[in-house]
Amino acid sequence: MEKNFSKLKAEADRIVLPDECEENDRAVRYLALETGVGHYDNLNLLIMAVLFIFVSVAFLAVNGGRINNDDDEFAFSMKTLMSGEFTKTIEEKYISELPIPDEMKRAGEYVSLLYGFGNKLSEKESGNYSTASSDPLPDSDHNAFDRDDDDDQGLSENAVTTRAVKTDKDGNTVTEPDSVETAPGGGTTAVSRPPLTASTTSVSEEDDDEETTTTNNEAPSVTTTTTTTGTSATTESTTETSETSETSESDTETSEPDTETSEPDTSGPDTETTEVPAETGPVTDTGPDTDTEPEQPENSEGPAE
């Protein structure tokens, strides 16, 4: 018995496995892989479909907290349909009722941190936080190349001039000469161009004794602040913000209530950038109807390269 077993074993050892077996093994592995492909495809489909359906349902069903009861606007009629008001109302309602809109904006800012260096989170409490729009473009229609009158001769985009219309004791206007602001040395100077623009106008109706005008000479990123400071307690202010601003670092402060004028800080070689604070003192007040506030000025970087 044992002898027979040894004999059989010896014979079995002599048999060389044919190549087909190896190919079979390979085919089995390939089939397993194919099964894996199907498996992962299904898993992928499941995940994407669930994500899609989850977001769709969340956006349709979850209310952002702003309940709109103006059912009259939502009324369906041939007139509203043909004028496009009906579909417009539906779309506006849909967008206005997106869930957690503030958190979405916040999440958008956090995500943008991954995009590169220097992205910042806006601070909700500081007044920089804009709920109306996220990072609008400056003036994408503006094209510097198509402008024929480009002879601004140094008063270019980043030359920020702070002018104050001074009045003397007799009430006469004192005019100051314009300062020509050019980059020292010119050439390869990186200039500060705030990509975004704020236009703030504050008007006090009484006692127009004093007027301060701050102008960022950089179209499209023009920041203009006109403040008329009054001595009366009754002050009416209006703030118009066309676009939020990333303005330059402060070298000059605009008028305080008890300051007559603000003058450009022309000391030092880097006089081309001047900070334009979004808030120009206690007189400037953001109107209740304003959704956005001009951003606090950020750093302007002088010649960098």
Partner: protein, 458 residues
């Protein structure tokens, strides 16, 4: 409504997809597709619905007439085909290029104007044209033609598909898990391109070209960003279009291709909006591989370039740019090709970039003056500074996305990455699992980031 509207992506599209899956018959799917497409097409513009029905029925009737007459009374069929061409051209001009009629009686408010009229008109005319040429038979079922004409899959960024290519799918198609999976993936990656990458390059372009200060780097990077912005917007919408189609059971042809240096400028112009370029080439009879009539093909390329430019926008800049592109294609066909073919691939890429910059850069400017100023700016003439802080910030704030965009656009780099992943996944099952997991996770991440970006901007 466009593909990147939230109300479409998470309102109309899921509803359409789910309703389509409720029944397997193609007729039912077509009906759902027609209803949702009309909603998409006429959103906020009910006037457009009437318009579609009118021209659609006109195309259908003319097609039937041409089909019956094309052999017996060919001149009459030709006349009818020309009539259909005029009608579709008028539609495209009045509703697609309504800025031409501003201040006249034909000037319409923006809310009245339907989207995608360029593609819609081409589809309508191509149907009748194909019937006339005998490529297809005239369609008797108006609903099949309606499915082809108004399908939202084809509305935003093409492709311009011929009815003959779609007929079989319109009559019978099935939606399976493979199509759903591929469709959703393509849709999400397309959304990422259109929403995330295009937006980044829009910022860089604005910082480089749209400020008041002209800088040397602004001229270069701003214009490259201008190309990248439209490239990613277009290819993103094309991907979304193909993804939406796959979810609906259709398989559409590609509308853009990889940029290959060996194909030179001729290949480059064919990579973008491929089906539109093919349509006009076909119309002018310059598609054949007939090497015997090289001159005719080369001259046809000039006309084709001008026509495509006109189709995009009726303005001198577009006509000039289209003609210039056609001229370079013509020159390549006649003699340049043989010279350039001997150059190294890197030199060919440089040639492509420079040719694109100087020809298509003209689209950004409204006057020769602006173009000249920009060309001088590229060489540092007339610029006071090299780089603006705004441009530097725009680049630095988004450099990760710029790198990703580069990997997508640069075919050799992309092939290296995907080839490496394929090789790695072929090692063993574990490696394959890892690669698939990374793919799924990155797709999900792109989806989430795109949704957040869209919702934050809403």
């Amino acid at each position: 409504m466009t593909y990147t509207d939230l109300i479409f992506l998470f309102g109309l599209f899921p509803v359409s997809a789910v309703l389509s899956l409720l029944d397997r018959s193609s007729e039912y799917k077509n009906m759902i597709l027609i209803i949702t497409s009309l909603l998409f097409f006429s959103w906020g513009r009910p006037f457009a619905v009437c318009l579609i029905f009118l021209t659609l029925f006109a195309d259908w009737a003319i097609g039937m007439a041409v089909g019956s007459m094309r052999e017996k009374a060919r001149p009459a069929a030709l006349l009818l085909t020309a009539l259909d061409g005029v009608m579709n051209l008028a539609m495209m001009l009045i509703f697609g290029h309504n800025y031409l009629f501003e201040g006249t009686k034909l000037g319409l408010e923006a809310v009245m104007l339907p989207i995608g009229m360029g593609y819609y008109s081409l589809r309508g005319f191509s149907y009748v044209h194909d019937v006339f040429r005998g490529k297809i038979r005239a369609e008797k079922n108006v609903f099949c033609l309606m499915t082809y004409a108004v399908s939202f899959h084809l509305m935003c960024a093409g492709p311009v598909v011929h009815y003959g290519d779609m007929e079989g799918q319109i009559r019978s198609r099935e939606v399976n898990t493979d199509k759903l999976n591929a469709g959703l993936n393509r849709l999400i990656w397309g959304m990422g391109k259109a929403v995330i990458l295009s937006d980044v390059f829009m910022k860089i372009r604005a910082a480089g070209l749209n400020g008041d200060e002209i800088t040397t780097m602004g001229c270069w990077l701003g214009m490259l960003a201008f190309f990248a912005q439209y490239y990613f917007m277009f290819t993103g919408l094309c991907d979304m279009s193909r993804g939406l189609s796959l979810v609906g059971g259709f398989v559409l042809p590609v509308n853009y291709r990889d940029i290959e240096a060996d194909e030179l400028f001729t290949g480059l112009v064919k990579t973008y909006n491929t089906t539109v370029v093919s349509f006009f080439s076909d119309l002018l009879g310059i598609t054949g591989n007939n090497n015997t009539n090289k001159v005719r093909t080369a001259v046809g390329a000039v006309f084709c370039g001008a026509l495509v430019g006109l189709w995009y926008q009726v303005s001198p800049a577009y006509i000039i740019v289209g003609t210039a592109a056609g001229l370079l294609v013509c020159a390549e066909q006649l003699f340049l090709k043989d010279i350039l073919a001997k150059l190294h691939a890197v030199v060919k890429y440089i040639y492509l970039v420079l040719a694109s910059l100087f020809i298509f850069g003209g689209l950004e400017f409204h006057s020769i003056y602006g173009y000249r100023k920009w060309v001088l700016g590229l060489m540092g003439v007339g610029t006071k500074y090299t780089l603006s802080v705004a441009l530097r910030d725009a680049v630095m704030h988004n450099y990760v996305l710029i790198l990703i965009a580069f990997c997508i656009v640069c075919t050799p780099v992309r092939k290296m990455i995907t080839g490496g992943a394929d090789k790695f996944s072929a090692r063993n099952r574990k490696a394959y699992s890892a690669v698939r997991a990374v793919k799924t996770l990155s797709t999900a991440a792109v989806f989430i980031v795109s949704v957040i970006t869209l919702a934050a901007a809403a």
